[in-house]
Every structure is written in structure tokens, then in C-alpha cells.
Amino acid sequence: MTGSPIIRLKNVVKQYDAVTAVSAVSLDVRRGEILVLLGSSGCGKTTLLRLIAGLERPNEGEVWLNDHLVAGREAWVPPEQRQIGMVFQDYALFPHLTVNQNIGFALTGLRPKQQQPRIQAMLDLVGLGGVGERFPHQLSGGQQQRVALARALAAEPTVVLLDEPFSNLDAALRKFMRDEVRRILQEAGATAVFVTHDQEEAMSIADRVAVLNQGRLLQVGTPGDLYRYPKVRHVATFLGEANMIAGEANGTTVDTALGQLVLAEPAYGTVDVMVRPEAIMLQTDGDGAAEVSERRFFGHYQLIDVRLADGSTVEARVWAQSEVAEGQRVDVSVNGDVVAFHTEAEAVNSANGELNGD
């Protein structure tokens, strides 16, 4: 990607009375990418989105949109002048307007006659060609969600902001809509900031993910990077199952109950090593030093609890076809490099590390 970032947040702070919802967040969003803000509820991700939209005003820091300062100590551009599209968690469709009128609401500059082709194009894009004359309450949840998306995209905004748009849909529809929205956003060539608390959703839709916790930005990166090389313990555990194994690091390697492992980044001293379950390999032939203590079947894979020689237990993910029985002796090895976390002063690390985006 070339060019300057389309959204740039600089040390943005938002406080409500005593509560700090967003604390000194700096983040760049690149042109054309889908960036997901991921975090558990109450971590400040929606507030961050509303700050970008201009629905909230930061207490400190700056918000830049398309190289314009839109919120800062001296500057303020109200939401209606920011040229953004937003999809709300509850869709916020106007109940007294038809689908056509809802979408047309965004097309302020155009006369009704000029609006119609654009509205039709948007409805076609979201696959709802025939519902233009209906009212929101006559649509299903998934359809309402698409109308909200069409409405947000109609005025060709520079940025589309989506606040947990799928949280009101059931699991099957959610999966389908996720792919649809990704397609639609890419077809429209829009830059999107997407808020969710679902790490699977985040990783499947995002070009990059920004993980937030308690108002702080912990790490930004591609889904693969975040999953494999988390910089903070919270990111490691939030994104998926993680074995935390005690070890002694000496530079490029670390000694653990799983043997000597290769570190992705050099470290020294007593550490916790994160090993993803699928990185743990089980050899079933021969008398292993470890024993299978429990086995849970999930269809396309299974999770195996393995008791190691030192008595600790790790979790391994193996294919559904693997024949592993409880009580079986196995040999355990680790595939690839691992990440180490210092056992103490995590907070200091996370505050001082290079966590302010790239």
C-alpha cells in the first residue's frame, strides 16, 4: 500500500466522568484495507469507532481523516461533514422510511430522480434488488443488516465503519454475511473499520487486526502475525487456545518441559512460552515420555490433553483422523518457533513496547 493513511489516530483519549474508555490510542488505517478492532465488551472499541465517526469528541489527541485534522484541540469537524458511512449494531434504520428512502437519505446532494439509479445499484450490490418499497420492519434481520450496509456505502464514503454488524444474527447467517460483507466492501473498494468481540470473525474478515483491552491498544498486525507472534499475553490467549509453559530462555532458544525450543525473538531468563495446540506434534509409535490423559472430539479436529514427564499438562490439536487413545504413551515435539513472555511486569512491557501501530 502506498500513500498516507486514510485514518490516523494520535494519542486519542476519551473519558466519561471517571471512566477512561479510550486511553492514548494511536493507530493508522491504510487506504483500502479492512481493519478490525477486536476486544471483549467494554474495552473501548465502539467508543474508538464513534470517535472516528465524530459522534464522540476526544478529550485529548487528534483524529485525522484523509490528511485533514477532524478532531483535535483546535479543530472539530462534525460527523455530517466527514464523509463516512457507518453501520450500527442495531442497524439504526429509520422505521418510517422505506428501504429506498433509507438509502436515499444518504444521497443528500442528488435530486430524487438522480438518486434512484444509485439506490438500485446499492441494492443490487447487497443482493436485495426487489425490496426497495418495503419498510424495515418487513425485512428479516439479515436483510436489515444489508440495507444498513447499502445505506452506509451509498454516498461513496471514504471510510465505512461497522459496529458489531453481525451480533444480532444467528450463527449460520453470520458466517454467510461475513463473506458477503467482505465481498461487498472489496467490490466497493472501501476502506473499512470493523468492530467485533469475536476473534474468529475478526481473523476471517480482516486484513489487519487491532487488539484492544481496557481502552488500550495492545497490538496491530495481520491475523497470522497476531496469532503466531503475539507481543502480549492477553493477545495470545484472546486469539485462541494457548499453552503457557514455564521455561528458561537463553538467547535464541528456551528450555522447557517440551525440550529445547527455538524462540522467534531472543529472550533471557525465566519466561512463559506460548505454544499453540496445533504446533504440538504427537508421535504415537514407541514408548513416549508423555501420556494422553483426555481426548475431546470436535469433528474436523480433536483436542488432546497430554500429561508430560514433569506432571504438567499441555493441549494438542490433531486431525480428526488421528487414532489416539486415552492412556496411550506418546512422544511430544513442537513444530516451528515459539514466543516467550516475561513472567512479571507484563503491564510495563505492554505500555512501552512498540504497540502503537505501524
Binding site: R82, M86, F88, D90, F94, H96, G142, A152, A155
Partner: protein, 586 residues
């Protein structure tokens, strides 16, 4: 964060800058509140002035009152309020449960029709009942003729007793409990109900152990509303010659012209009313909480069989018959006979004049009140969106206070405020303008009366407007703004259209309430200005039933409009609740 070290001096400057910005940001909200605050104060003024009265209590007067009428009046009020409370609770809850949980012939029809008695003011049903069931009335006459009996040879319940009065008020007020209980029962999800059934609870047992406790906030709120109406009633109790606090306030002012005494008594009622409104608010707040879990399937109705089936139908028909069908048939019969051969002989001219007066008063009060309500509701919303909590909340509470005040109390408050103004203006006009005994500026015109109506019924308008404004989520405003709409466009395209139904409903409700109003009208009307309600009241006091029937029927017919709206609103809510989870398919 290493580069954000700041000296204390800079920190102070920064603090000030941000405070200034905070103010700038909040300024629109504050300006939006100035007007609403004035309106609220104007509405509170009459009640506030009465409060001053009570802080300067006339000990002598109270001793005299206590020695004479007060104990009896208090006992009467208490008896009436408790009696009506028990009656409306019982009838309202039982019938709401019947039409929600069971299926029987005519159920759908009764479901709606049981609301009809809302359209009949208490004093109208009161005079119909007295006329029908008194010694010379059609019922007793028919009994005597059929069985050849004379006076004293048979027993017949006397309608003009406290029990009769409680019956009449219960029959017109039970819909308050019915409508709220029914809404509560409908909202309860089938899963809760089914869970109880799986655990081995019968329908009846589930009702007492689960359904009733869950609906308690709404039922209690409805019952308290009915009790409040009973306490503030003037027309019915006065027709039955049953002195209550509300009735005494009017009588003392109207016969003894002792405003101080009336005001002191009125203030006593304000305390009772405040207690009741507080209780109601508390329970209503919880009701809101309960409604949040309202999505899901509704419990399936049980088909009644055998005698129970027709028993349910008969019960509903009996209630509807006594509360609406019979009295209205009687009213129609009287009206027809009056039109065919007039007893008083004047009804055509007076009818037109009084109808015009009623429409004028109701229309101006409703129109003004709804506009003021909109201004307040908008101010309240604008402020709470900006994060200020206590001021809008306080305001929305204060502004709805008038509904708990009897018309007589509000009228007394308005008089305390308006009388000195009138006196001074008149004196000024006589002395400096040389006018010869000019009419009073406020009490001589409808100004004071309309003012009293607005104070009394503001809460009706405010609640309707606020209710429909609540449906506009902050996200809708946010969505409109992100789509480039200015705040003016948001108001015009989003707020106004969505609030307009609430405004229309509020206007109709106030219109009808004013049309039925008696005590304030009696105390504050310009000399010689009669309304349909007053005319009904006067004629029925003179036992000219046939003549009273024409204005009474007019009031009932107008009163049916909001009842029909209520029926439709109830239906829409039910339509939106799916019987089974809506299928999420594209």
C-alpha cells in the same frame, strides 16, 4: 508516553482549555433547556403556591376542620380509594388473564371490548346507575310490576350507598388494570411458562406462582392509577353525595368562597398524591426493566371446554354488559326519547353552544399542551444525549406531577396565582384607564381555565411524546449525521415524523380528558360558560335523565376515539411479537 511529560503550569492551561471546550460542546443542550425549564416552572407554579399555603398552616382552621368534617371526609376518601383499588385489581387482573391464557367463544372480541368502559366518565355511569336502579327506576319498577309488589315488600340493594359508588367507579376504572395486566401477561415469554409446566405446575398454579409475581409491577401501577382517579374524582362522589377531600375542596370554594381553606385542604391531597405518584414511578421503573426480555414466543392459549367455555363467555359478557352495553343502551334510549319529545325544550340551541364551548376549551388546551410537551421532551432528550442526567430526569418527573393532582387542587392553585393578578389589572384599568368595572383578564376569559387544564393534563401529552421519542434510538440520530444530515434536517426528517403519531395520540387524549373534566371547569370557567360535561352534571343532578343523556352520549362517543386507538396500538404490539421465532433467511 515518554514524551508526554508536562510541567504543572502547562497542565493548568490545558485544563482550562478543555473546560472551555466542554462548555462549548454542551452549550446547545443548555440552550435547548432554557425554554423547557420556563415551561416546567410555569406548570409547577400553581402547585408550588399551594405548598406555600401548607407551610403557613392555619392552626385554628385545622382544629375546626378536625372537629367537624375532616375525620369523616378522610375516612370516606380512604374507604373509596381502597374499595376501588381492590375492585379494579380483582376485575382487571382476572379478565386480563382470562383473555390472554384461554380460548373461548368471543375471546378475540372481548379482548378489545373490555376496554370500552374507559370511554365513560364516572359521573355519567353514576347517574345512569342511579336512574336505572333507584326506586322509581326502570329495574325496580319492572320488578314490582312483574311480581305485584309494593314498597317495603321486597329487598333491593340501594345504589346510592358507598358500596354503589365503589361499584360504579370500579366499573369505569378497571380498564386501567386490565390493559396493563394484559400487556404484562402477553409479554411473558412462552419459555418461562413452559419451564414451569415441565416442572409439573398446573396452569392455575403457574398463574399464582409465576405469572402474577412477574406482572406485579404493571398490575400495581394500574391499580394505583385507578386509585388515584378515584381519589381525584369529583363528579361521581358529588353526585352520590359522598364527601371526599376532592369534593370538599370544590364545595368549600364554590359555596363559602374561602380560598384559603380550600387551598389548605387541597395541599393535604397533594401529599397523598405525591406518595402515590412516587410509588407508581417506582413500580413503573421496574416494569420497564421487565419488558426488555419481551422477545420470543407467546404462551399458547388453552382451549376451554364444557361449562368452563361458556362460563368464561358469560363472565365477560356480564362485565361488559354492566359496565358498557346496558348503561349505553339506556343512554341511547333516553337520548332518543328526548329528541322525539323534549322535556326541557331547549336542547337544540344549548347543545350547539355547549358543544362549541367544549371543543374550544378542549382544542386549545390540547393544542397548547402538546406543543409545550414537545418542547420539553426535546429539551430533555437533547440534554440526556449530552450526558447530563439529573436535570432532564427531574424535569420529566416534575412536569408530569399535575396528573396526580385532582382538578380541584390544580384549580385552587391556579386561583391563588391568578386572583391577585386579576385584581391588580382590574384596579389598574379602573383607576388609570377609567374603564367601568372591566371583566377579569384571566378568570373572566378562558385563559386561567386553559392554564389549569394544561397543568393538569401535561403529563398525558408529555408521556405520549416522550414515548414515541424513545423509539428514536441515539444511533438513528448518529446514522443520520454520518450520512451528512444537519441537525435541522435530522429534526425535520427523523424526529418530527416519528413523533407525530405520539403527538396526535397525546392531543386526542388531552382533548377527551378536558372534555370530561368537571371540578376545574366548575371553579375557573368564565361566568356563564357551560360545557357538555357541566351541562350533563347539572341536568343529572336535577334528575332530568333524558335531557342529560344527549350531552352525556356526546362525551362518551368522543371518548371512544382514544379507546379505539388504544385497541389498535395493542394489536400492533401483538403483531410485532411473533408466535414463533422469525426465520432469519435471506
Amino acid at each position: 508516553m515518554a514524551n508526554t511529560v508536562i510541567t504543572p503550569r502547562r497542565a493548568v492551561v490545558r485544563e482550562q482549555q478543555y473546560t472551555a471546550e466542554k462548555w462549548r460542546l454542551h452549550l446547545p443542550a443548555w440552550t435547548a433547556l432554557v425554554l423547557p425549564t420556563f415551561i416546567t416552572l410555569a406548570i409547577l407554579l400553581p402547585i408550588g403556591l399551594l405548598a406555600v399555603e401548607i407551610f403557613t398552616p392555619d392552626v385554628d382552621l385545622w382544629q375546626r376542620l378536625w372537629a367537624t368534617i375532616l375525620p369523616r371526609v378522610l375516612w370516606n376518601t380512604l374507604r373509596l380509594v381502597v374499595g376501588v383499588g381492590v375492585g379494579t385489581f380483582f376485575i382487571g387482573t382476572v379478565f386480563a388473564w382470562l383473555v390472554t391464557a384461554y380460548e373461548f367463544p368471543g375471546r378475540r372480541w372481548f379482548d378489545h371490548m373490555l376496554l370500552l368502559p374507559l370511554a365513560i366518565p364516572g359521573f355519567i355511569l353514576g347517574f345512569i346507575y342511579v336512574a336505572m336502579f333507584e326506586f322509581a327506576g326502570p329495574v325496580q319498577t319492572a320488578l314490582r310490576n312483574t311480581f305485584g309488589l309494593e314498597r317495603g315488600q321486597y329487598w333491593f340493594p340501594d345504589i346510592t350507598t358507598p358500596a354503589g359508588l365503589i361499584l360504579v367507579l370500579t366499573l369505569v376504572l378497571y380498564p386501567y388494570v386490565y390493559i396493563l395486566a394484559r400487556a404484562a401477561f402477553r409479554e411473558q415469554a412462552a419459555s418461562t411458562f413452559e419451564a414451569a409446566q415441565v416442572m409439573g405446575y398446573s396452569r392455575t398454579k403457574t398463574f399464582f406462582r409465576l405469572v402474577l409475581p412477574m406482572a406485579r409491577p404493571q398490575i400495581a401501577a394500574g391499580t394505583l392509577l385507578a386509585m388515584m382517579e378515584a381519589m381525584t374524582d369529583y363528579g361521581t362522589v358529588s353526585f352520590f353525595g359522598y364527601p371526599t377531600l376532592s369534593e370538599r375542596v370544590v364545595v368549600i370554594w364554590n359555596t363559602e368562597f374561602d380560598l384559603g381553606k380550600a387551598a389548605q385542604l387541597a395541599m393535604l391531597m397533594v401529599f397523598v398524591a405525591l406518595g402515590m405518584i412516587f410509588l407508581e414511578r417506582m413500580l413503573r421503573g421496574r416494569a420497564k426493566f421487565y419488558q426488555q426480555g419481551g422477545r420470543g414466543r407467546r404462551p399458547r392459549r388453552q382451549m376451554l371446554r364444557g361449562w368452563k367455555k361458556w362460563g368464561a363467555t358469560t363472565a365477560c359478557l356480564t362485565l361488559l354488559g354492566f359496565a358498557f352495553l346496558l348503561p349505553i343502551s339506556q343512554l341511547v334510549a333516553w337520548a332518543v326519547s328526548e329528541v322525539q319529545n323534549p322535556t326541557v325544550g331547549l336542547w337544540q340551541e344549548t347543545f350547539t353552544e355547549y358543544t362549541r364551548n367544549s371543543v374550544l376549551l378542549s382544542g386549545s388546551a390540547a393544542g397548547l399542551a402538546i406543543i409545550l410537551a414537545l418542547l420539553i421532551a426535546y429539551g430533555v432528550r437533547a440534554t440526556s444525549v449530552y450526558g447530563n442526567r439529573w436535570l432532564p430526569r427531574l424535569m420529566s418527573r416534575l412536569v408530569t406531577l399535575g396528573y396526580a393532582m385532582p382538578g380541584a387542587v390544580v384549580a385552587a392553585g391556579v386561583l391563588v396565582f391568578v386572583n391577585p393578578i386579576d385584581g391588580n389589572v382590574t384596579a389598574f384599568a379602573e383607576r388609570w384607564l377609567g374603564w367601568d368595572s372591566p371583566a377579569y383578564l384571566l378568570t373572566g376569559t378562558i385563559t386561567a381555565l386553559v392554564y389549569a387544564y394544561i397543568v393538569r393534563f401535561m403529563s398525558v401529552g408529555f408521556n405520549s411524546v416522550e414515548g414515541s421519542m424513545d423509539k428514536i434510538t441515539p444511533n438513528m440520530e448518529g446514522a443520520a449525521r454520518t450520512m451528512g444530515a444537519s441537525s435541522w434536517r435530522v429534526l425535520r426528517r427523523i424526529h418530527l415524523p416519528l413523533v407525530s403519531t405520539g403527538m396526535a395520540a397525546g392531543t386526542i387524549l388531552i382533548f377527551v380528558d378536558v372534555m370530561k373534566e368537571l371540578p376545574a371547569t366548575l371553579l375557573l370557567r368564565p361566568f356563564g360558560m357551560d360545557t357538555l360535561a357541566l351541562w350533563t352534571y347539572f341536568l343529572s343532578s336535577e334528575a332530568w335523565w333524558e335531557s342529560a343523556a344527549i350531552p352525556a352520549l356526546t362525551i362518551v362517543v368522543v371518548g371512544l376515539i382514544p379507546v379505539f386507538i388504544l385497541m389498535r396500538v395493542g394489536d400492533n404490539q401483538v403483531d410485532r411479537l411473533p408466535d414463533y421465532p422469525a426465520e432469519e433467511r435471506c
